[in-house]
């Protein structure tokens, strides 16, 4: 079973307690009433669906109930890191470098 670290509970919990909540770091335009339909579509519907590293929102729905952000690999399902909502997006290069170092150490 996949274990996910909840930054609020400060503990690894089973995936059964969590729910995915889409891409992270998508900023709602402040002038939402003025933007064009195309811009709204871009903000609201269009996602990258990358292969590999992705930043996602997750919710510890059957636990503390909090939303948090996670860096996850869409191929291996591996969680690189999780961090509280509102915290800055971690550096992609640093995450991947850390993984490489871990791999080399093994």
């Amino acid at each position: 079973m996949l274990l996910i670290y909840c930054p609020y509970c400060e503990e690894e919990r089973s995936e059964l307690e969590f729910r995915n909540a889409g891409d992270a770091h998508i900023v709602r335009p402040t002038n939402i009433a003025e933007i064009s339909d195309e811009e709204f579509e871009e903000f609201f519907f269009l996602r990258q669906n990358p292969k590999g590293l992705i930043f996602e929102r997750w919710r510890h729905i059957h636990g503390c109930g909090r939303f948090f952000n996670a860096a996850r690999d869409t191929v291996s399902d591996r969680f690189y890191t999780t961090y509280k909502a509102g915290e800055p997006k971690p550096d992609v290069a640093a995450i991947l470098k850390g993984e490489q170092d871990k791999g080399a150490a093994r």
Partner: protein, 183 residues
Amino acid sequence: MADLATATRKSALTARGGFSEVVLTPAPAASRLSLRAGADALPGLSAALGVTLPTRAKTSASKGKRHALWLGPDEWLVIDEGEADLMAAAAKSGALHSAVDVSHRNVAVVVSGPGAEVAINSGCPQDLSLAIFPVGACSRTIFGKVEIVLLRIAEDTFRVECWRSFSPYVFGMLSEGAADAGH
């Protein structure tokens, strides 16, 4: 010739009887409060409720028949087994908070005995060993298909809170786990 592995046949009602390792007891009525508040309201609310609201994850505080369970960073479940009026107590705090009386939304099952951990783990993925989930630890989690709030009240005793319409499922599932705990 190698022995064949055979499952033991058991009656459909086996899990409704008594168990050697686990005792399942429906808890008596209690009053309950779903409480949400910011950090600045905590001293006032704690004083008004007579129990210090815990701020660390997975911890609870108890005083007499009253328990305050940490559910989230700004969320608590307050249980009073003496059926005291928690709403009135919280209202007297004078601090900004949101309280909902959920006394009749939840029911509780007390699971006790040496097989209590095993019975609960039959549907709950959390590590319930004493080192990780000590006495007084509490957590909202999942049990089979439903959400429960778990509180360890003694080394071999847990209080399982669930929504009332889910309670037949929870009791049945716990019974199945309890029947297996003896093996």
